[in-house]
Structures are given as structure tokens and as C-alpha cells.
């Protein structure tokens, strides 16, 4: 049975305005880590808040554990939520914060302190129990918020961009920790983020949203390798998928599938980093007029535009830094893209269409 499901869920803040969330149908599986991914204003937080009961849907249903919860208060839904700001109670100690949900439930003092100790131990914050939130670092606050969420063993975790307040270095380690933590407790989780790296790294499945609508639901590999439309294709991946117009379709290819080839004895040599499955071709040769290059340490991002086929269209190539070659500005190079990695989109609607001959 799905832990959370939504049916035709819609939220309009002002009558006559575009819906913040439009006709969303979701089903999360038991123990799943489901990520809501989208740019700001895509409705992902509104969707999460509706599931939490903090926002009332305009239409549609929300089910938790198979029961329609539309008319239930957040308190009755028995879920836990971690806010973007962590929303710790500033006047209470860490212990006071963690036991608050248990107190609200009417649990006895001894039992709740026992539970709080367990949750604090799980997150390694036992030494902080006597402190006030303002005396904690960002990472510690996040753990307190998580401990407060886990302490009542909810059936569902809702996390609203919990890593966005951390600095870049801490974010990577906190991400891994959070992921491990979720695997360990096995609680179904819905996680909102605008960061595609977080979504790819943590999600069992990703729900890509834009303008209040779900564009695609799938595993990280599915949404990345098989984007349903041009929005998903460009939102996921950094740099984004190259999109070039060709007659009445848009042809897309990932920067990592677009690589330089060298002519060796009249035969195109495929760079070493291309995996065996992709080496056999067939390839579409493209002339690439490079404009500049970004050296990122582990990889090189090469910018330029195409000549000949797809004349004048901008493209980006991404190759490992170990790949040789000089790509100074305005020089012309032979590049290629593996034909099976080409994606085709409808030029008007942006949705995926069948394969089209490039000839």
C-alpha cells in the first residue's frame, strides 16, 4: 500500500491565477526516498505543505496510508517535517525541542526522555542536549531538527530543502549522512530540493516539477537518460543537454556524449573515456567551432557552436580532463555524438517523439 498518494491535487492561491500545483498524481512506495525536484516557483514546496496539512488543496485528494486526509489537521496526520530553516524552538533547549512532539502526544516524562536519548544518539548529538538552538552550528541544527522528526517514529518524513542553509562543503557530507540515516531508519521520505545533484544522489525516484505540474517521475537514471521533455532534459545535468532544432523536431544530446574524435589512418578514433557499449557507433560526425573552455580539474567543459550540420547552433562538450587536445578559441574540430544517445523532442510541445532521420 502506498504510504502517500495524491489524486488530481491542485492548489490555486488566488482565483483566476495560474495554479501553484496543478493536477498532481503521485504514489510513494513503502520506505522510498522520493525527491520533488524543480526550480523555485515550481510548486514543490506547496505540494509538500499540502501533504503536511499546512496548506489546503483547492481540489484533489491526499491519502496517507490509504486514508483520505484532506480534512485532517497536521497533528492528526502523524507525519514529521523538517523545515528549510529547521524551525527549532529558539527558547527551548535541544532536549526541549526533541521531546516537544512527544509532550504534545502526552507521553510521560521518563519515557520521552528515554526516546529523546535514543534519537539524539542516532544522530550523534547527545552532548548538545542542554544547549539552546542559537548556540549550535548549521549542521548541528539540522541534526536536532532530524532528531525532533525521528523521535516519534512517524510513518512519513517530509523534508523541505534541509541542506540549502549549509555551506557547500558541509552540504556534501550532510547529504551523505542524511541518505545513510534514511536507509537505516527506512521511513518513507519525501524530499524537496531545487538541487539536481542532491536529487540524483539521494532519490530512489525523482518527481521533476515545473510551473506546478509534474513533468516526469522516474529513477535518477530514467529522468537523466530518458527525459520526458526538453524541460527535464535541460533541468537535469550540468551543463544541460544540448538541444538543436532540426526541421520540426529538437535533437538533444548530453555534453558527455559529444566528444572530439581524431583521424587515425583514415579512421575516426574514439577517445579512451567512452565506455565499450558506446564505442561501436554508429556516430554522427559534427563540426565544432570551439569558443572557450572551462577547466574544472576533473573535467573540461568546451563551449562553441556547430558548423555544417546544425549550422550555427550552440553546443557544449564535456570530457574528462585526461582527454588531450587543444580547444583554443575559434578553432574548428571534428566531434561526434553516438547516434543511440540522440533524443528527439517535439518542436512545439517539447515532449519526446520518435527517432527521426538526420539525413
Amino acid at each position: 500500500m502506498a504510504v502517500v498518494a495524491t489524486r488530481g491535487l491542485t492548489k490555486t492561491f488566488k482565483a483566476g491565477q495560474a495554479a501553484a500545483v496543478h493536477n498532481v498524481n503521485l504514489e510513494s512506495e513503502e520506505g522510498e526516498f522520493l525527491v520533488l525536484l524543480g526550480p523555485s516557483g515550481s510548486g514543490k514546496t506547496t505540494l509538500l505543505r499540502m501533504i503536511a496539512g499546512l496548506e489546503e488543496p483547492t481540489s484533489g485528494e491526499i491519502l496517507i496510508g490509504g486514508v483520505v486526509v484532506n480534512d485532517m489537521t497536521p497533528r492528526e496526520r502523524r507525519i514529521a517535517m523538517v523545515f528549510q530553516s529547521y524551525a527549532l524552538y529558539p527558547h527551548l533547549t535541544v532536549l526541549g525541542n526533541i521531546v516537544f512532539p512527544l509532550k504534545a502526544r502526552g507521553m510521560g516524562k521518563a519515557e520521552r526522555e528515554d526516546k529523546a536519548g535514543w534519537a539524539a544518539g542516532l544522530l550523534g548529538i547527545k552532548h548538545l542536549l542542554g544547549r539552546k538552538p542559537r548556540e549550535l552550528s548549521g549542521g548541528e541544527r539540522q541534526r536536532v531538527a532530524l532528531a525532533r522528526a525521528i523521535v516519534r517514529e512517524p510513518t512519513l518524513f517530509l523534508l523541505d530543502e534541509p541542506l540549502s542553509n549549509l555551506d557547500a562543503k558541509l552540504r556534501a557530507s550532510a547529504r551523505e549522512e542524511l541518505e545513510q540515516f534514511q536507509r537505516r531508519v527506512g521511513t518513507t521520505t519525501i524530499y524537496v530540493t531545487h538541487d539536481q545533484v542532491e536529487a540524483m544522489a539521494m532519490g530512489d525516484r525523482i518527481v521533476v516539477m515545473n510551473f506546478g505540474e509534474v513533468r516526469q517521475i522516474g529513477t535518477p537514471a530514467e529522468v537523466y537518460d530518458d527525459p520526458a521533455d526538453t524541460f527535464v532534459a535541460t533541468f537535469l545535468g550540468s551543463p544541460p543537454m544540448n538541444l538543436v532544432e532540426h526541421r520540426d523536431v529538437v535533437v538533444g544530446f548530453r555534453p558527455e556524449h559529444f566528444f572530439p574524435v581524431t583521424q587515425l589512418a583514415g579512421r575516426a578514433a574514439i577517445p579512451e573515456h567512452i565506455r565499450d557499449a558506446d564505442r561501436s557507433g554508429p556516430f554522427v560526425p559534427l563540426n565544432f567551432r570551439t569558443s572557450h573552455e572551462e577547466y574544472l580539474g576533473a573535467e573540461r567543459i568546451i563551449y562553441g557552436h556547430l558548423e555544417g550540420r546544425f549550422e550555427g547552433k550552440k553546443a557544449i562538450s564535456r570530457v574528462p580532463a585526461t582527454t588531450g587536445g587543444q580547444f583554443e578559441s575559434a578553432s574548428l574540430h571534428a566531434f561526434a555524438v553516438s547516434e543511440k544517445h540522440l533524443k528527439f523532442f517535439d518542436r512545439e510541445k517539447g515532449t519526446r517523439t520518435g527517432r527521426v532521420s538526420l539525413a
Binding site: T73, P74, R75, F83, L88, P90, F100, P101, A104
Partner: protein, 282 residues
Amino acid sequence: MFLPAVLYVLALVGVPLILAFLYSVGDVKVGSVGYHFVGLANFRSVLESPTFRVALRNSFIFTISSQILVLVGATILALSLKKAFPGRWLLRFLILLPWVAPVSIGSIGWKWILDSLYSVINWVLIRLHLANEFSPPMWLGDPKLAMLSIILVQTWHMLPFATVIILAGWTALPKDIPEAAEVDGAGFFRRLFQIEIPMMLPIINVAVLFGIIFTFTDMTVVYILTRGGPYDTTQVLPTQAFQTGVLGSDLAEGAAISMFLVPILIVVAWLMLRSAHRAEVT
């Protein structure tokens, strides 16, 4: 750069304060020409007067009871004005009126409302058969009722100010914290008393301390409604100081009475600065 401000404070606050202090240890009467230092004689005479002791006690009763009523009332009002509803701005404006209107006008209005012959309250009570037509409550003539009346009118006068401060504090609270409490399973009262009010405590403190200062030092309501009567039963320190010093021509003793306000006000001012500072920090 601060010089004009410093001069202004010295001239308008410092000089009268020093003057009042000098009067309180001198023998100044209205119209007297000389000044003789008499030490603490005025204070001794004030402390021996039973009226003063009544006034001191009344000042505390008047201030503390009206501030408790203001605090409870303002919190309830702020709570009900927090959510948006049609016509909210009008209601907010109406609630602010008693504070904006000159207190003397308001008090004169109340004087009629509580009048022994023409009181609308009594008129209503008599029509509802809650009061005897031939001996209706003497709102300003009965010692207990008179005290109650001045407390209620002072509450009416101070309520808007506290409401506005508390409302402003409430609107400034981060929204996600009460929401987190809601998701954590806290009901309305738990959220109110364990989360929102504790978080607003510094702001509530400022409102209360302001209210204490404005009530403790103010004589308008008492003077217009009862003039301290009947038989000095509603006398407070400011009215007694005014009656002794100005109406009774004994400036020295009047000054001595007002000097009793100073230590209390210093403590309140110190508390106020401290909690304002704390509100700033957190």
C-alpha cells in the same frame, strides 16, 4: 552631532528633575521667595500622612491590575486581529482610537457614562432588571466601584497601545516555527502558551513596562473621573502630588511625593532597556 539632543534632554528633563529634587528637600511654597534646606523633613511628613500611604497602595493596585487586564486583553485582541478577514483594517483602526484620542476627552466621556444620574450603564442595567432603579450602583461614588472604574478606564485607554505592540511582534514571528509545532502535534493552546507567547516574551515585556510607566506616572484618568475621591480612596501618587503641591500650594511636599515615583521608575526603565536589548539580540 548629539549636542542638540543632549541639550534638549537636559533642559526639559534634567532641569525639572533636579528642581523637583531641590524642592523636596527645601521649604518651597507657592509664592515664597526664599529657599531653606530642610533635609528629609518633607519626606518624614509625607510618610506620616495616612493619605500618602493610601495613595501609594492605590498606585500599585491601579497600575498592576490595569496592566494585567491590558496584557490579557491585548493578547486576545492581537490573536483575533492576526488573521486576515474582511474589514480587518477598520477594526484595527477602531481599536486604536482610544489611544489616539486625547485621554482627557475619553475620560470625560467615561465620566458621563459612569455618572450617578445619567449613566447609560445603569440605564441598561435597570432595564435588564439587574440593578435597583432607586439605588443604582454609584460607579464613581462608592470607594470599591470607583477604584474598579478607574482601573477599567485606564485599561480601556492603554489596551490599544499594547495590542499594537503585541500584534507587531506576532507578525514578526517566523511563520515556520508555529507551523513546525503544528506538525509536531501541538494543539492551539500548546502552540500559544509553549511556543508563541514564550517567543514573544521580550516584546510583551516592552509593552507591559511601557504600560507601567504610563500608568504609574499618569493622573489624567483618576483626576478627571474621581479627583482621588471619594474620601481619597482612589488617590494615586501623581494626583496626590498635584493636589498637595499645586492646588495646596505646598510645592516642597508635592515634590517629595513625586520623588517616591523615581526609584520605581528607574527599576522599570532598567528592566525595559534590558528586555528591549534582548529582543534585539534574539
